[in-house]
């Protein structure tokens, strides 16, 4: 039709067109697709998570486990194979090693070798933030309540605080576990669950041996659902026909299958049980039963009391799966305090959803359309970038590593915990020890990582790989117990490397034996003694 209309001879532009005007907001369109638009509360949560990420990025790297895992990662990279027997502790030669964290170790080694310690800090912060994002995200999605989400945040952080301090593959397990919480607590299936769970468990089985906790959670939820449906309907057949029960059972099965995708195959299942029953672990603080004298025991007690109150007041029906999971993990936490790492996020989730339910029961809440807007999304992206850019990893990525060696060393020193044996290691590098050394358990990892190549450490933090006899002798020597000197002779130990903080008795005893041992280095963190007549 337009082709039939003759063009105007002269275009007439109205004068008002050239006048300066303010934009008419009412006609502006939000071009960001609706599914990516965020509410202000979501922005606040993202800011909270961003802050957590930044703070974690500045957390000094712990002086124990991390370095051992990196050393194993380095070994795996060099050998191009996973270890079958313990490769780093001479006194554990031949001890079968099912490396449940080989993938974490390899990834960790890759990141640290390419990006330095800032990479490890980034990895650490990233995993913690991901775990929190899962839990807070699911609470917020279920409740839409900022207060409930913040309560979940506080519960999670307080409960698992001590476990979160140490950078280790367990954090990768925690991230996987929190993702499983999202799936396991969903009472309606989503398509992505069917691939996310197998993929998560296939990864988890190679990242850390804690996958069993995830399987347990899924299993508890499945059993609970079957029980709930049977209880309410009075018919077992109803449970068999229930979509949620079916979904949870099948997901548990798929997860169990996915775990088999690891270099050790079915042996991984046996190993996970074997590790938890290893008697050496009884001597380690973090494997002790939870008690009120522990900070995390006090946190667990407070959270438990809070949960009791919430359950008492909540109008929300408590599912059997919920009870099984919370009580099961709670009992496991009492058994060994380390399990609080898994109990805390689950407790946080239930604190959040019950708190929201109580609030709405008592105060009501009008329905209102949440104000989603693209502007909020832009703000969230901007905040995320700012939080990232201010982390050590962000700075390194944007500006590169400092060229000045002193500056680099200073930055490294700030990036590791004050208990890291930096001076001791420098001394050992300058004067490498000959033969077997005796070192404290906490330092074996760092000495293997940063000490002279081939140094024969006595033990490292993989206590379950240390033969029981060696471990008993280690405990005896480190406490300067009976026959400590004879035991050092027995192992042909020529060098003793100990920390000042916890082994003052041994240091004192060694100093008294001046005819046998010579103090060759000492600082505020540790001391090195050498045998006057090496064996």
């Amino acid at each position: 039709m337009s082709t039939l209309t003759p063009p105007p001879r002269e275009a007439v532009v109205p004068e008002s067109f050239f006048e300066r005007r303010d934009a008419d907001v009412s006609v502006l369109q939000d071009r960001i697709p609706p599914e990516y638009q965020l509410t202000r509360r979501a922005v606040m949560l993202i800011a909270l998570l961003g802050l957590l990420f930044t703070i974690c990025s500045y957390q000094p790297l712990w002086h124990s486990d991390l370095w051992g895992h990196l050393s194993y990662g380095r070994w795996i990279w060099a050998a191009k194979a996973v270890p079958q027997v313990e490769p780093l502790m001479p006194l554990a030669q031949g001890v079968r090693f099912v490396d449940t964290a080989w993938l974490s170790q390899l990834i960790g080694w890759g990141i640290v070798s390419k990006c330095g310690v800032a990479g490890a800090q980034f990895m650490y912060a990233g995993l913690i933030t991901f775990a929190f994002t899962c839990v807070l995200g699911v609470v917020y999605r279920r409740t839409g309540s900022l207060i409930a989400t913040l309560a979940a945040f506080v519960t999670f952080l307080w409960g698992a605080y001590q476990q979160l301090l140490v950078v280790r593959p367990q954090l990768a397990g925690l991230a996987c576990f929190c993702l499983v919480i999202v799936v396991a607590t969903a009472s309606v299936g989503r398509r992505w669950h069917w691939w996310a769970i197998p993929v998560t468990f296939a990864l988890w089985a190679n990242l850390h041996g804690s996958f069993l906790v995830g399987l347990g959670l899924l299993g508890a939820m499945a059993i609970g659902r079957v029980f709930d449906v049977t209880w309410r309907t009075g018919r077992l057949g109803a449970a068999l026909r229930d979509s949620e029960a079916r979904r949870l059972v099948l997901l548990t099965q798929l997860a169990a299958i996915a775990v088999l995708l690891n270099p050790y195959g079915i042996g991984l299942y046996g190993e996970v049980f074997a590790v938890t029953g290893n008697p050496n672990l009884e001597d380690l603080f973090e494997w002790e039963p939870l008690s009120l004298r522990m900070g995390q025991g006090q946190a667990a007690a407070t959270i438990t009391i809070g949960l009791f109150l919430l359950y008492r007041m909540s109008p929300r029906r408590v599912t059997c799966g919920e009870v099984l999971a919370i009580i099961g993990l709670g009992l496991a936490t009492l058994w060994t305090s380390r399990m609080i790492n898994w109990w805390a996020p689950l407790a946080a989730y239930y604190v959040g959803v019950h708190l929201a339910a109580i609030r709405w029961k008592n105060f009501g809440r009008p329905i209102e359309e949440r104000s989603r807007s693209g502007l909020n999304t832009v703000v969230a992206v901007g905040l995320s970038w700012i939080f990232f850019a201010f982390t050590p990893f962000g700075v390194t990525l944007l500006h590169g590593q400092p060229q000045d060696a002193k500056l680099l060393a200073k930055r490294y020193e700030k990036s590791v915990s004050p208990l890291t044996p930096l001076g001791t290691t420098a001394h050992l590098l300058a004067e490498p020890p000959v033969g077997q050394i005796f070192n404290t358990y906490e330092w074996g990892d760092y000495l293997t990582w940063a000490g002279p190549p081939g140094m024969q450490v006595f033990v490292n933090s993989h206590a379950h790989l240390v033969p029981q006899e060696v471990w008993r002798d280690y405990m005896s020597i480190s406490a300067a117990g009976g026959n400590w000197e004879q035991k050092l002779d027995q192992y042909s130990v020529n060098t003793v490397v100990v920390d000042v903080a916890q082994r003052a008795a041994l240091i004192k005893a060694l100093k008294l034996k001046k005819d046998v041992w010579e103090l060759s280095y000492e600082d505020g963190v540790g001391a090195v003694f050498r045998r006057l007549k090496p064996l």
Binding site: V95, R96, R142, R191, T233, A274, E469, Q490
Partner: protein, 482 residues
């Protein structure tokens, strides 16, 4: 805008399908078909189900369930089939409490023998050897027989030893005392803890310093092994009648730990039974090897081992001899280490010998042991001198100290044995038994074979002094430090 109560009445059954709150679900299962927006009564949020979420909310079909069951069974079956034996054993042990120990195959009915290399009548004559062996015959009182003494007598004389003197215990009697709980009770009564201990997995030997105990771990086994016991020799424990030496050996292989207090006899017994196999898995799942054992034997100060560190030297020498025979008992690197260790022992004993021919207990100190002598107990020098001569009898000449050193040591042990009374010998039997064995081995024979020949030409006469002494001999009262 609706209130919560309005929303609750709007249809509680809907919310569970979409938002996940199950508390308001009266009937299950419900298949979602409707597309209209629904509201969760708890979260009070409006949820618009998409076709994706509805599809996802549908029940997994029976076909899907069957499929998952199939792949579950299939996956675990395949994983089990292709799994390494160690992995399967670990799973069986942890999940089903099954005994996962992979038994070591013992390739022979009789143990190997490390043959002596030299026949040196110039060092020890027949008469001297006979005099020495006469003194170290097992003339023990039958009551409260000490397993440690019996073990030493047996490793010296062998299971087939027979004596014309009825006061001397034969190899058969010695063997039965160690392997038959009934014989043990005859000697000790029922109040003493049994020497043979029944375990669910086999038979173990009680080793401690209490009455009726074998002093050292695996010494019982090593002594019987060196004595030439057969693998199928029955072992009658308090609760088993079907055990054999094989049962005890199997238990020893199972419960061995590398860092236990003493490994000297374990290394010897394992080497003589399971070589040429050089690697095996223990009951703790650890991979053991003769390399590891020899590393363990070389570890620590030289004199810290049993009997002033001389037993480890003997065991290391035995491992070298096994490696000579089978070529793969030790790795090349470890063989070099062992050889260097034995060379250092050779050098130390060359320097530390006293002019009269004996070695002190602090022989690893070399020259300074002579220059600054310590006060040694009598038994300590007997131990050091006798044991060193014993391992030298199976060592190649490269590992020997000068000829004169060996000669002086030999003269010292002959003279010392002859000069001491039968009672003194019995009090220190464990140490003197090594002297007897060393003397025979330097004649490339065994005490058993030599004595059998000797008695053909020198038959036992009832009035011989040692026999009458034996009948009145007091129970050995040595400290059993050996």
């Amino acid at each position: 805008m609706k209130t919560a109560s309005e929303l609750s009445s709007a249809g509680s059954s809907r919310c569970s399908r979409v938002c996940g709150h199950v508390s308001f679900v009266p009937v299950l299962p419900i298949t979602v078909r409707r597309e209209e927006p629904r509201v969760c009564a708890l979260s009070l949020t409006e949820v618009r189900p998409t076709s994706r979420s509805i599809m996802a909310a549908c029940r997994p079909s029976w076909l899907a369930i069957l499929f998952v069951q199939f792949i579950t069974v299939g996956a675990f079956a395949v994983a089990w089939a292709v799994g390494q034996p160690e992995a399967k054993a670990l799973v069986a042990k942890q999940l089903w409490q099954q005994d996962a120990y992979p038994h070591v195959v013992v390739p022979r009915e009789r143990p190997l023998v490390i043959a002596p290399l030299y026949d040196r009548p110039d060092l020890i004559s027949d008469a001297d050897l006979a005099a020495v062996l006469q003194k170290v015959q097992p003339r023990f009182p039958r009551e409260s027989l000490k397993p440690n003494h019996v073990e030493h007598a047996l490793r010296t004389w062998g299971v087939g030893a027979q004596f014309q003197d009825p006061a001397v215990l034969s190899g058969k009697e010695l063997t039965e005392f160690l392997t038959d709980h009934g014989k043990f009770i005859n000697s000790w009564g029922k109040t003493i803890a049994p020497l043979l201990q029944d375990l669910p997995t086999g038979v173990a030997i009680r080793f401690d310093r209490t009455d009726g105990g074998s002093i050292h771990h695996d010494h019982w086994l090593a002594s019987l092994t060196e004595a030439g016991v057969r693998l199928k020799t029955p072992v009658y424990s308090p609760g088993r009648r079907n055990a054999t030496i094989h049962t005890v050996l199997d238990q020893a292989l199972r419960d061995f730990r590398l860092d236990e207090k003493e490994t000297e006899w374990t290394a010897l017994a394992f080497g003589l039974w399971i070589a040429p196999q050089h690697q095996w898995t223990g009951g703790d799942g650890r991979q053991y090897s003769f390399d590891l054992l020899s590393q363990r034997l070389r570890r620590g100060q030289k004199e810290l081992g049993v009997c002033s560190g001389t037993h480890r030297v003997y065991s290391l020498m035995a491992l070298i001899r096994l490696d000579d025979e089978f070529k793969e008992t030790l790795s090349d690197a470890e063989r070099k280490n062992v050889w260097a260790y034995l060379e250092s022992v050779r050098d130390r004993i060359t320097e530390s010998q006293f002019p009269d021919g004996h070695w002190p207990s602090n022989w690893p100190e070399g020259k300074s042991a002579v220059e600054k002598p310590i006060v040694d107990e009598f038994k300590a020098v007997v131990i050091a001198t006798g044991h060193h001569l014993e391992w030298l009898s199976i060592a190649p000449k490269e590992l020997h100290p000068p000829e004169e050193t060996i000669r002086r040591a030999m003269q010292w042990i002959i003279k010392t044995t002859k000069d001491n009374s039968q009672q003194t010998i019995l009090d220190n039997y464990t140490f003197f038994s090594h002297i007897g064995k060393a003397g025979a081995m330097w004649r490339r024979t065994s005490p058993e074979a030599f004595w059998e020949e000797w008695e053909k030409t020198h038959p036992f006469v009832t009035s011989q002094a040692p026999a009458s002494e034996a009948t009145e001999a007091a129970k050995p009262k040595s400290t059993e430090d050996h």
